[in-house]
């Protein structure tokens, strides 16, 4: 006997996930499109271009891989660079783990693949106390679909979007991050402090070459997220 109520609840969560993913799908469009375009210009085949989006699903690493391929860099260096760029997902995955409802490990292994800066940010700032795997899958698949499909379209169309549109679309994902942050910031000074400190630190780190790229974001996030806990502890001790 199939537990129908459970299935329809999962279905409902999956749909809500898709809805939550739409802003990401829009934001990914110009980036994936441009990636496809650049991959074609760099001499990759359609299969390689879309294959990289299907298997790697990480914007910044894919862009950097293209420029490193063009510069004749070896595969090993490119893989190491991709690793450094994406170590920050460790932090996101550990943080998301606190928010996800308990589920089988193989399901976690599937939606884990769909963690990006954007899907993580949307999931982590949801007001629900716990999120289900179905929600996360709906969210992730929507983002993933946009990324993969628009990579292919960019490759096939092979011409740039009009310049003003390109210039405008460049702000899309940042606007989404702001829209995710503001509702929480309105309610909590702690949120403003956390985001402000990390933003300031990352801006400083970005001026120092070895910390630009992946490490700056990781360091500034850890210092800000851990620092406030220690500051608050001292305050509590002092009282």
């Amino acid at each position: 006997m199939i537990p129908i109520p459970a299935i329809s609840a999962a279905n409902h969560d999956f749909k809500r996930g898709i809805q939550a993913g739409l802003s990401i799908a829009i934001g990914y469009l110009p980036i994936a499109f441009t990636y496809g375009l650049l991959a074609k210009a760099g001499g990759l085949s359609l299969l390689e271009t879309v294959g990289m989006s299907v298997i790697v699903f990480a914007g910044a690493s894919q862009y950097i891989a293209l420029s490193m391929i063009a510069a004749g860099t070896g595969a090993f260096e490119i893989i190491i660079t991709a690793f450094i760029m994406n170590i920050r997902h460790l932090l996101m995955s550990a943080s998301l783990n606190e928010k996800m409802a308990e589920d089988a490990k193989w399901i976690k292994a599937i939606y884990g693949f769909l963690i990006t800066d954007e899907t993580f940010s949307v999931a982590a700032t949801r007001s629900e106390k716990k999120l289900t795997s179905s929600f996360m899958l709906g969210l992730g698949v929507t983002a993933y679909g946009s990324w993969v499909i628009n990579s292919g379209i960019g490759y096939l169309i092979g011409a740039g979007l009009p310049e003003t549109v390109q210039a405008g679309m460049a702000v899309a994902l940042y606007a989404m991050f702001i829209a995710l942050l503001v509702p929480s910031a309105k309610k909590s000074g702690k949120v403003i402090f956390l985001a402000g400190t990390a933003a300031l630190l990352n801006s400083l780190f970005s001026m120092y070459e070895p910390l630009s790229g992946g490490w700056g974001i990781i360091l500034s996030t850890i210092i800000s997220a851990a620092g406030i806990e220690f500051l608050m502890k001292e305050e509590a001790d002092g009282n």
Binding site: S23, S61, I79, N97, D117, I217
Partner: protein
């Protein structure tokens, strides 16, 4: 498909997948110390700050004002509690106009 490139893509896939999935599978939330749990709960807001700055200032090589204009519209429309997609679209429209006028 060129074999070398295929292996490179597979390698990138592995090193990208592992950090995404290992904490989810290995960490048992019930035995993580409370202090670390609070820190992990702070991560989303800290990371959002770091993802926005300084990246948004560099969306257009011509000037940082493109990013500032887009950020201003996004903050303003978020404060009005607009739906997230509307926030994104209005910010995109603002920066497009900004670039169209060649400011």
């Amino acid at each position: 498909m060129e074999t070398n490139l295929l292996w490179m893509i597979a390698g990138m896939g592995v090193v990208t997948y592992l950090p995404r999935v290992l904490p989810l599978i290995i960490l048992d939330t019930s035995i993580i110390p409370r202090k670390l749990q609070s820190i992990l709960k702070n991560v989303p807001f800290a990371i959002l700050g770091a993802l926005i700055f300084p990246g948004i200032l560099h969306i257009n090589d011509a000037s940082i004002w493109y990013g500032i204009a887009g950020a201003g519209v996004a903050v303003f429309s978020s404060l009005l509690n607009w739906n997230i997609i509307l926030v994104v679209l209005s910010s995109v429209a603002a920066v497009s106009l900004f670039s169209f006028w060649g400011l």
